[in-house]
């Protein structure tokens, strides 16, 4: 058991190291330089001063060494655009993204599990067709389009929800205020995830339903409902947990678009703006951070898996 954990920990560290290097290479090999140098009114002198201050005039290998040394120390550099330590920029926005992604994920699971199960139980029927149809539609809509449509429908045309932001700035802003700002972005973000998880749940429930023990249970006369809830669900949930692990990076990536349209002060949006502005330290810090988070979460999911399914424990 400990050997397994150790192996996984080393694995995780290697992955993070590779991410570090890959991001550094991508960012620094890109032609051109950071946006801070892109002001038509900058004089030669000013350009040189900025380059020197940001360490951009050093050779790439030296910058790489500096970067790796810094990461080992836990210092992820200072952002060019925002002129604060990247750690702070990330820490300020992380809770917002966690809130949004968490809400979206919760919503997805709450909807996908029962709906997927029902689809599987009633496979081929009207209910299944309707649910699947909606799922396919949801998977085919570009997120930004859905977001703008939502804003124009539920904030402008019918003022039901706020059009953006995480709170009403300047006002006291209690729980109700924060929640009302959360609804639309979370629903939009959850749309694709729900649809995908639903399809996944449907197919894994379908597989579970055809397992011999289920057939036996049904043959024995146990009521469908009981069979469904106790046996199928538990077995179907297992692959779902893996699916969650895959959905996580996509959720953060999808959050970038949703956060931009809804003016949600999150990490995804920060990452996109940093990449567009070639804010090297910030891009690297965010990519590193998110990848590390994903790796950790996947590790936890693997542990969860171990706990749920004894067969795997034995193999390990």
């Amino acid at each position: 058991m400990t050997a397994f954990l150790l192996r996984r920990a080393v694995h995780a560290l290697t992955v993070v190291f590779v991410v570090c290097t890959v991001t550094f290479l991508l960012v620094h090999l890109a032609p051109g330089g950071p946006a801070v140098l892109a002001d038509p009114k900058l004089t030669q002198e000013e350009q040189a001063a900025i380059s020197e201050r940001l360490g951009l005039d050093r050779p790439v290998t030296a910058q790489y060494a500096m970067w790796m040394a810094r990461v080992a120390r836990g210092d992820l550099g200072e952002s060019f655009l925002y002129e604060v330590p990247t750690r702070r920029a990330i820490a300020e926005r992380l809770p917002n993204t966690v809130l949004l992604a968490g809400a979206a994920l919760t919503l997805s699971v709450l909807l996908a599990v029962p709906l997927g199960l029902i689809s599987a139980l009633r496979r081929g029927g009207v209910v299944d067709r309707i649910i699947s149809g909606i799922a396919f539609l949801a998977m085919a809509v570009p997120t930004f389009w859905l977001a703008i449509l939502a804003i124009f429908t539920f904030a402008v045309a019918f003022p039901v929800f706020p059009a953006g932001g995480a709170t009403t700035a300047g006002a006291a802003g209690g729980l109700a205020d924060r929640l009302s700002h959360l609804v639309m972005p979370a629903v939009v973000l959850a749309a694709v995830t729900t649809a995908e998880l639903l399809r996944y749940m449907r197919s894994s429930a379908q597989t579970a339903l055809h397992q011999p023990f289920v057939r036996v249970a049904r043959a024995k006369g146990l009521r469908t409902r009981l069979v469904a809830w106790r046996h199928v669900l538990r077995n179907a949930l297992l692959p779902m947990v893996t699916a969650l692990g895959i959905q996580l990076p996509r959720l953060v990536g999808g959050a970038a678009i949703t956060e931009t349209v809804f003016a949600w002060p999150g990490l995804g949006r920060l990452g996109v703006q940093a990449a567009l502005g070639r804010d090297y330290p910030l891009v690297m810090a965010i990519t590193l951070f998110i990848s590390a988070a994903v790796v950790v979460v996947n590790l936890l999911i693997d542990l969860l898996y171990l706990w749920i399914d004894p067969r795997i424990r034995l193999e390990a």
């Binding site: 090999l29 703008i148 990076p249 996509r250 953060v252």
Partner: protein, 272 residues
């Protein structure tokens, strides 16, 4: 059970037909239609459907139908090319991992895990910065962020069949790994690859439209459904039809492709 197999086949046929029709229209349409999709006419901007413009004009006075057809060509081309690229990467890296020694397998898998851990959008944006926002760059960028699933699949499949007797026999006879791959592994892999590729087209099209929204997709004045849709958002109030056409096309394409992929996957599953 037989009934569901038939319905899934029927769905596959319908979805497949839609996709083929779209591809055909995209290929031939612009040639048949003839109107220059890039011809600006600022005096006729944002007109509803009327004389000479069956679907109206966009914000710069360009014919919407013409742009829709040209855009379809571009979007579908990007979709298929990106998927081809990711299939190539996935197959090669999966083969490397599956057929090479344990160390090679380890290295490739770590790399795969690392790339999987980075959210695709960030990776694409940074990759586009490297290759530039040309059509090739776009295809490579999208392809380079969607090969991982296939690579894992290929590797798993290869590792599984390696143990099989006939493979051992073939190796004993001295067959080279590449031949092993093509003769024995590929037929097994084909269904999974096909399913992955089919879904990949939808993902690529959606990704292109998301990138257009950020400004990194297909560059104007060239039309693509993605950039038509994101440009149309500014005019949502005044000329909503500008957003509806490309939106519907994307919806149609991605739904068809997903239904097709889904049906293919069902067909490939022996347990059903």
């Amino acid at each position: 059970m037989i009934a569901t197999h038939d319905t899934s086949r029927r769905r596959a046929v319908i979805a497949g037909a839609v996709v083929l029709l779209l591809a055909f229209v995209a290929l031939i349409g612009p040639v048949l239609y003839g109107t220059d999709p890039n011809a600006l006419d600022l005096t006729r901007a944002a007109q509803p459907p009327g004389a000479g413009h069956p679907l109206g004009t966009d914000e710069s006075g360009r014919d919407v139908l013409g742009r829709l057809l040209a855009g379809g060509r571009v979007s579908l081309a990007v979709g298929f090319a990106a998927v081809a690229c990711s299939a190539l990467l996935g197959l090669s890296l999966g083969a490397l991992a599956g057929l090479g020694g344990r160390r090679l397998d380890s290295v490739v898998m770590r790399f795969t895990d690392a790339v999987m851990a980075i959210p695709a959008l960030f990776l694409i944006i940074t990759t586009l910065a490297l290759f530039g926002t040309t059509a090739t760059g776009l295809v490579v960028a999208i392809g380079a962020t969607s090969w991982m699933g296939l690579a894992r699949l290929v590797r798993a499949e290869l590792l599984a069949i390696r143990e099989q007797d006939y493979v051992e026999a073939a190796r004993a006879l001295g067959t080279r790994p590449l031949r092993l791959l093509t003769r024995h592994a590929l037929p097994h892999l084909l269904p999974s690859v096909l399913v992955s590729v089919t879904f990949g087209v939808g993902t690529a099209i959606l990704m292109e439209s998301a990138l257009s929204f950020i400004g990194l997709g297909v560059q104007p004045p060239a039309a693509s459904w993605g950039n038509m849709l994101s440009n149309a958002i500014t005019y949502l109030h005044a000329s909503p039809w500008l957003a509806i056409y490309p939106g519907v096309m994307i919806l149609l394409t991605v739904v068809s492709v997903n239904v097709l992929g889904d049906a293919l996957r069902d067909a490939a599953e022996p347990s059903q």
